[in-house]
């Protein structure tokens, strides 16, 4: 079957995923701060003002109306909790937590309610909801609007966590997340919104829990997350000139983790570098390093290296912010230490 594709942005791909699913499934509702914008103001009531602070949900209100595209008060605990309650009782809410850094004000609803209800109820409930949230440094947004923090959610049983790197993956993974019967936290890197790529028309699903080999290689496995996939790809391209053949694995889903893909690649290359923009302590990077030394110990032919942010909040000034974010050069340096 020939599937038509065209080049669209990561933002457009996400918008398309939400639109298709909202169209397909009447139980899907979208909620969040300013996701349409301008609620109750006559001249924009039907079209919205912003379509999300960075425009991901633009124009959805025009098609689906205010009944299903719900602007919320700045009241994360209230509306994230409402999304949980709605999910348990039969809707499929897509809630937007504008910046992941805001999880502090609504974490109880996410992890004590959303994540645990099914288990505490002995499996007699399901919580099919998605929380979309923006991650990542690089905007000069400083300490409370630039974190990644997906490790916090990945740590929690009951939640699934997804962090796409490309427009194609963003669309397929978001559709999968919306259709999934478990709560999914969907991390969108703000620096990726304007990146573009080939995206198929229509619905398609990328299963959760499946990593993607973005570049095949034999010398070293680089496992990367979200925007770090692109950083890893650049490092790989630069090292290719020197004959160092880097394999880049895009995790795509952090929980569940595609352990098989990581171990399979490690068995091939025997070397592992993990690139993660999150802080290093108790991180996904550390988790993967632990996986490698536990399950993949006998594959290892070099120490496992973690290229991560430092153990600091994200700084404001660009000079420091660029220092903070893992760069291709740091990935290259780490690779050189192991090959």
């Amino acid at each position: 079957m020939v599937v038509a594709t065209r080049v669209i942005s990561y933002r457009e791909a996400l918008n398309e995923a939400i639109r298709l699913e909202t169209r397909r499934d009447p139980t899907v509702v979208i909620m969040g701060e300013d996701i349409a914008g301008g609620a109750g103001i006559g001249h924009i009531e039907s079209v919205g003002a912003w379509g999300g602070v960075l425009g991901v949900t633009k124009s959805l209100v025009s098609e689906f109306g205010r009944q299903r595209v719900l602007d919320t008060p700045i009241s994360e605990a209230g509306f994230i909790g409402a999304a949980v309650g709605a999910a348990v009782t039969g809707l499929r809410p897509i809630a937007e937590l504008m910046f992941v850094d805001f999880f502090g004000v609504c974490m109880d609803q996410i992890f004590n309610q959303g994540a645990k209800l099914r288990y505490m109820f002995g499996g007699k409930a399901k919580v099919p909801m998605v929380i979309r949230t923006m991650i990542g440094a690089g905007f000069g947004a400083a300490g409370q609007h630039s974190g990644c923090h997906y490790s916090v959610f990945t740590h929690m049983p009951g939640l699934k966590t997804v962090a796409p790197a490309t427009p194609y993956d963003a669309k397929g993974l978001l559709i999968a997340a919306i259709r999934d019967d478990d709560p999914v936290i969907f991390f969108e890197h703000k620096l990726l919104y304007d990146t573009t790529g080939e995206v198929a028309e229509g619905e398609y699903v990328i299963p959760l829990g499946k990593a993607d080999v973005k570049r095949e290689g034999s010398a070293v496995t680089v496992v990367a997350i979200a925007r770090m996939v692109h950083v890893a790809m650049e490092a790989a391209a630069r090292l290719a000139g020197e004959g160092i053949d880097v394999e880049v694995i895009d995790l795509r889903t952090l929980s569940p983790l595609d352990e098989e893909a990581i171990l399979e690649s490690l068995a091939k290359t025997r070397r592992l570098v993990v690139v993660d923009e999150d802080n290093p302590r108790c991180s996904v990077a550390a988790d993967i390093a632990a996986l490698a030394v536990d399950q993949g110990f006998d594959y290892l032919d070099a120490p496992v290296k973690m290229v991560t942010a430092p153990h600091t909040p994200v700084p404001f000034s660009p000079s420091m912010e660029q220092f903070y974010i893992p760069s291709p050069q740091r990935v290259i340096d780490a690779i050189r230490e192991v090959v």
Partner: protein, 473 residues
Amino acid sequence: MATVVVMPKLGLTMTEGRVGKWLKQPGEPVRQGEPLLEVETEKITIELEAPETGVLKHVLAPEGATLPVAAPVAVVAAPEEEVDLSLLTSGATFAAEPVAAEATAISAPASIPTVPSGGAQVVATPAARKLAREHGIDLARVRGTGPGGRITYEDVERAIADRGQAAAFPRGQLVTFYSDGLRLAGELFLPRGEPRAARLPGVVLCTGIQGVKELAMPLLAQALADAGFAALTFDYRGFGSSEGARWRPLPYEQVRDVRAAITYLSRHPLVDGQRVGLLGMSFGGAHALVAAAEDERARCVVALEPVTDGRRWLRSLRSEWEWRVFLEELAQDRSARVVHGTPRRVSLYEIMPPDPESRAILQEVARQFPELDVHPEFPLDSAEAFIEYHPEAVVDRIAPRAVLFLHGEVDVLVSPEESILAAARAGEPKRLVLLPGMGHLNWLNPKHPVFSRVVAEVTAWLEQHLAASQPRS
């Protein structure tokens, strides 16, 4: 004379082995080379062969017993021979009149000091360790090329490939003997099949400066065994699997090892102690000449490309200024070690700068035999001892025992001048063969036409001068 069969040492790190299945029962006649029992280690199971033809007199260890290396497991002797078990030694044989100093109580082997390890704990990656485990590779003998000398997967792969090649080399029977109280590892090559004579002529082979018996020696030893000789190779003290201060080749100590080897071989039940010769190659050629000069038990000598004057030899590898710098370094180290006690160690190549062809061959050997420590670093006090080593000055003491010199005509690592000048000084009978167009190492390959010529020359010389009718002078 009875022979004690001992638990063999099958690898550097092996300290004990398990007695597997006995393939012969006590009282059963055995032929030399016939499997006696199975010996198991963590890594491999081998069949231990009967060291001589006779009867399996005593089984000293039951199946399943774990014994230290060198512990006696059986005694093979002539059918009517009476064996006094209280006189068992951990060596290989004992005579009716044991030499007191060599006799050891049966329980002694366990207390034999183990080989001092060459350095710190082996650093190897998990992948390398697993691969080594699966293939029975001893990591202590693998050269690491990773950061800080870490052994990587590729290093073990190489070791496996090399072992495959190494396995293609003939192997003899592992034996041990003592020199100055240090246990040396030897390998005895014996003629296959029925013995041609009651007692065999024996040859001690002296390996070169890299000190381990596996280099070049097995080819020559097997050729000699095929020609009817009992050929013994061994690791000098501190090299390979032998005990002793690691990698400190002092010539006169190595000569003492050669002489211990002569003693061991002379006393072997299959060997006619009156017909033992020496064959040495390169730096081992020097030792063969010096040992023979001092020890009349060496009935004749073959010196292949020998060093005969250490000063002349090392000088020939340098320009004038390089030589002066080298001497200055030795002088400095001499002063320093008098104060600090420890000599500086340098690469063999700094002491003996090889020509490109030799270097390439040596590097290839190093690649093939990483587990043999073929390129150790030597202390500068040993380099100083090389300079002071002067076999040429004593070759005239060998006569009337025969000496054969063979040398590549274009050998630029050890100049043919070394053989020519020494041969000139040696008494009769002597013979000097220069190999046209040959360098130091390039003919050392069984497929090389010159190799078989060398074997023919050597064999003929030894047969002539170790002939059974040869009267003792």
